[in-house]
């Protein structure tokens, strides 16, 4: 028997705990976007779980009036795998950051993506370690001067979208904390995806890395610096849509003036390509958030979901052998009787 999903408001999804991020943190707008989206997703509070690791972003579950777990550094995708595969009735969200997901938890992230376990992963990327007060992160730009790199960092950063595509994630998207509508649409798509959905959220850390994304997300520059990816549409941007993306004869992508090449020459975005190659090329279009940067859904393909496959094997075994009988199990090898 199913009962109708109760009508809720943002308030119902808000816990009684005081939010303790720094004033002005981008996390507030992401939290608001999620809390306001939940009533529209057609889901129940009691069937929703927010899981996190460690970091500023990881406090997120405390602020949601759902089931939640604030776990240990980097491990939320592993914990979520156990939960999601055993409880397919639940909506499992993983809230993580660039350090949590790509540094200490990098191994779990790539494996959960390749396996395609049903969960929605929101990775708040602020390109810095905030909770430990300002060390460089695996997404910080080269030469970043921080407390732990007073002479500038020498590590090359990860591009999270490229990494997720390389792990053959079935859903990969990017959004940013300055645009609630875009966040909500992206989160909704990620939530509705049957598998592991990975969303990179550009998030401003106003204390330790203020303005990291201002070159592309600022209100005044957004139209010329963010390239919206829309399935089935030519990829173009600019206030008048005057710029666009083409694929050259050597296979490389290039940003051009639409007037120079004509509208028909523009690359049409197709998020469901079986081959992630073009999505990967799009993820490499900008070398950092200072150049025109694609946002939206890079890839959304269908592939069997891990937990469903796991359950299917159980059902098949029970059909073929009957439901397991312990008495028979203990006698499955050689047995003998002593009178």
């Amino acid at each position: 028997m199913t009962t109708a999903i109760p009508v809720t408001t943002r308030k119902d999804w808000t816990s009684d705990q005081e939010v303790r991020w720094c004033p002005g943190c981008g996390d507030y707008s992401i939290l608001a976007a999620v809390q306001m989206l939940m009533p529209d997703l057609g889901v129940r509070r009691e069937s929703t779980v927010f899981l996190s690791g460690i970091g500023c972003a990881a406090r997120f579950p405390y602020y949601m009036n759902t089931y939640g777990m604030h776990s240990i550094h980097g491990r939320a995708p592993a914990i979520a795998t156990g939960l999601a595969t055993t409880r397919p009735d639940l909506d499992v969200w993983v809230i993580t950051g660039d350090g949590d997901a790509l540094s200490i938890g990098g191994n779990h992230l790539i494996h959960v993506l390749r396996r395609n376990v049903k969960m929605t992963i929101l990775m708040f990327n602020n390109q810095i370690y905030g909770l430990t007060k300002g060390q460089y992160s695996p997404t910080s730009e080269v030469s970043k001067v921080t407390k732990s790199t007073p002479f500038g960092s020498v590590d090359r950063p990860f591009n999270p979208i490229s990494l997720a595509l390389g792990a053959e994630a079935t859903f990969v998207a990017r959004t940013h904390d300055m645009d609630r509508a875009h966040m909500q649409e992206t989160f909704r798509r990620a939530h509705d995806h049957n598998g592991a959905a990975f969303v990179e959220v550009y998030q401003n850390c106003n204390v330790f890395n203020d303005g990291a994304f201002a070159d592309v997300t600022g209100r005044d520059v957004r139209s010329s610096m963010l390239i919206p990816l829309v399935h089935g549409e030519p990829i173009r941007f600019g206030a008048e849509g005057e710029r666009g993306v083409v694929q050259r004869s050597d296979g490389q992508l290039e940003i051009v003036n639409v007037a120079d090449v004509g509208e028909d020459a523009l690359l049409v975005h197709h998020e469901a390509h079986a081959d992630p190659g073009l999505a990967f090329a799009l993820s490499r279009l900008a070398s950092g958030p200072h150049e025109p940067t694609p946002i939206g859904v890079f890839r959304a393909v269908e592939r069997p979901e891990y937990g469903e496959e796991m359950s299917r094997q159980i059902v098949r075994a029970q059909e073929q052998r009957g439901v397991g009988d312990i008495e028979a199990l203990l006698r499955s090898g050689s047995t003998w009787t002593v009178d």
């Binding site: 579950p61 089931y67 939640g68 604030h70 240990i72 979520a80 595969t85 191994n107 009787t337």
Partner: protein, 624 residues
């Protein structure tokens, strides 16, 4: 059938046989088959598979020698035997690496075909031991196992190179004749395992029969032997290894608790067979997840536990190191979780295939902060079944991770097991939370995840899915009762003490430590884990020599049984044999201020009964 010499069949009370050969020679399989026939015959038995970490070290070298020791008897035994009566050596390397174990007068059966110059050199022999009188103290039978196997297979059109692989079945056939084992179970097994037809089944069958007939017809053996059935309690018996028993215990416990079983695990020797066994039992509804690493293994199990499943992870020492932080989280979350640690020699990669008991202090203290958890140790292969069920019962009842300690010796060792009466087993009650447990000042009902049961001090287990019970938990310290984040010092101390008291309180429900022996014994031997068999046999020998010796064995390492202190103080002397440098002895000395003497062995092999006996005698008579 050719007419051979009429043999005399002699009665033996017990015999210890050791099969040794190259890793590729199938010695584990040979030993295993001999064990099964003996079990079916009704002997009591104990086995000790002893193999290298390398899958196939260079053929013929000492590094590649794999051995399987089995002890069969017509009375109750608890060890695989201190010394073999018979060594079957398939090549010079097997002879060289095992001959030291063989007492003078013992029997040696060698595959003489392999004693050529090349193999002798590989084993480091300068002269052929079969001809230089160095084996004069033994009864040596030189049997051309390879060539006879090739000969009998040739008739079936099997090439010599293929036939050569069946020589272990020749050895099995020969030893089966020597100890009057029935041949039908093995012939049937060959058919089941290798198919009805085909060259492999044919070669193995021919080799096995040839070995058996060789014993009967070759005028080499003057007699063969019979070891009669042991007087077992009436009932149905199966032969079981420790890893198998852990897997079956977990399936049974899940059934008793009405929970679905989730195993998150990463392959590691010697624990992987638990993962293998559960993976092939999907009809029981068990979900097995081969994780990307040890941390994800335990993490996924904890996630499953949060969702209301029975979460289990299996590992060995290096994996336990990696899981420590997640186990700490489970202690903080107060969720049921089972960690099975099949111990092996350490530190680091150590001795992957060799046994040790050196993870006790790690299990006890190997986490930061005050992080207590219950520890249960299995003592025999079949006891792994009960121990696994008990671990689940404590984990579920007290909402806590539990470490179950097994070891490489128990994991791979086999023994006859009287099948338990499942209907007599008590159910395990998950007692999931189903309604709010608190009313706010304004009258609204709410759920507080850290309100404790007054009896067990356990908190509610409230998997997602129940309206009104939404709550958040985590690794940050929590306020008493509400579970909200709290950094307040006095609250932290309250929570530290709650967690300690909850685990300590388990002592109230675990059985008192039983002592085997008289109250006025001169000495108590206290053990834990797989040393049980050797201690048992060693104590029996000391008693045979006229000493009053008591024996007690701890299944619960944390908390200890309530009467342990009283038991320890009852005896003038206490001996604690362990396959480590004295971990339990350190614990009991610290806890009870008793002068427990430690007997240690870290050679990757179990204690011999004689070593226990010697230590007892030294402690009793040494000072006299």
């Amino acid at each position: 059938m050719a007419t051979g010499t009429k043999h005399v069949t002699e009665q033996l009370e017990r015999v210890v046989i050791r099969f040794a050969g190259d890793s590729g020679d199938g010695m584990q399989l040979t030993g295993d088959r001999f064990t099964t026939s003996s079990a079916l015959l009704g002997n009591d038995l104990a086995t000790f598979p002893d193999f290298p970490a390398e899958i196939r070290a260079p053929a013929g070298t000492l590094a590649g020698v794999s051995a399987f020791q089995v002890h069969i008897s017509d009375h109750e035994i608890t060890t695989p035997g201190d010394a073999p009566n018979v060594l079957v050596a398939m090549n010079p390397a097997a002879l060289r690496s095992n001959i030291e174990l063989l007492p003078k007068g013992a029997t040696l059966v060698v595959n003489v075909d392999e004693f050529d110059e090349r193999n002798l050199a590989k084993a480091g022999y300068e002269a052929n031991p079969l001809t230089d009188e160095s084996l004069a103290a033994y009864t040596v039978y030189e049997v051309p196992m390879t060539s006879i196997t090739q000969e009998v297979c040739k008739e079936a059109g099997i090439k010599p190179r293929d036939a050569e692989r069946s020589k272990n079945f020749f050895a099995l056939g020969l030893v089966s004749w020597l100890y009057t084992r029935p041949i039908d179970p093995t012939l049937k097994w060959i058919t089941e395992r290798f198919g009805n037809e085909g060259p492999v089944a044919e070669a193995n069958t021919r080799a096995f029969r040839a070995g058996y007939h060789f014993g009967e017809t070759a005028e080499l053996f003057t007699s063969n032997f019979e070891v009669r059935p042991a007087p077992f309690e009436p009932g149905e018996y199966a032969q079981v290894t420790g890893n198998q028993a852990v897997a079956w215990g977990l399936l049974t416990a899940a059934r008793l608790a009405g929970l679905s079983l989730f195993l998150g695990s990463y392959p590691i020797t010697p624990a992987s067979d638990i993962l293998h066994e559960l993976s092939r039992r999907k009809e029981f509804g068990v979900r097995t997840f081969q994780a990307e690493d040890e941390i994800a293994g335990v993490g996924s199990a904890l996630g499953a536990a949060f969702g209301g499943s029975l979460g289990v992870t299996t590992t060995s020492g290096p994996g336990l190191d990696l899981k420590s932080e997640m186990i700490g989280l489970a202690i903080s979350l107060e969720l049921p979780l089972i960690i099975v640690d099949v111990q092996r020699g350490g530190p680091s990669t150590g001795l992957p295939t060799k046994t040790e008991q050196a993870d006790l202090l790690h299990a006890m203290y190997g986490r930061h902060g005050e992080a207590p958890l219950p520890i249960i140790a299995a003592k025999t292969p079949s006891h792994c079944f009960e121990a696994a069920i008990e671990a689940v019962r404590l984990a579920v009842t007290y909402r806590t991770p539990v470490i179950l300690l097994s070891d490489g010796y128990l994991a791979n060792g086999a023994e006859p097991w009287r099948l338990p009466d499942l209907s007599a087993m008590l159910p395990i009650e998950p007692g999931f939370a189903s309604e709010p447990n608190h009313v706010a000042d304004d009258g609204t009902p709410s759920f507080q995840p850290y309100v404790r049961d007054p009896e067990t001090l356990a908190r509610p287990w409230a998997p997602p899915g129940v309206p009104g019970l939404e709550h958040r938990i985590g690794g940050l310290e929590k306020a008493d009762e509400t579970g909200n984040v709290s950094y307040e010092g006095h609250n932290h101390e309250t929570m530290v003490r709650w967690r300690a008291a909850k685990i300590a309180g388990i002592a109230k429900v675990i059985p008192a430590l039983e002592v085997d022996g008289e109250d006025d014994a001169e000495l108590l031997v206290l053990g834990w884990g797989s040393t049980f068999g050797a201690i048992n046999a060693g104590v029996a020998r000391a008693r045979d020599r006229g000493h009053k010796v008591a024996q007690a064995h701890l299944d619960y390492l944390n908390p200890f049984p309530l009467n342990l202190g009283e038991v320890l103080r009852r005896y003038p002397k206490v001996l604690v044999p362990e396959m480590n440098l004295g971990q339990l002895s350190k614990m009991v000395r610290a806890e009870f201020l008793v002068d427990a003497k430690s007997l240690n062995k870290t050679q990757g092999v179990p204690f011999l009964a004689g070593q226990i006996e010697d230590a007892i005698m030294e402690l009793l008579e040494g000072e006299a």
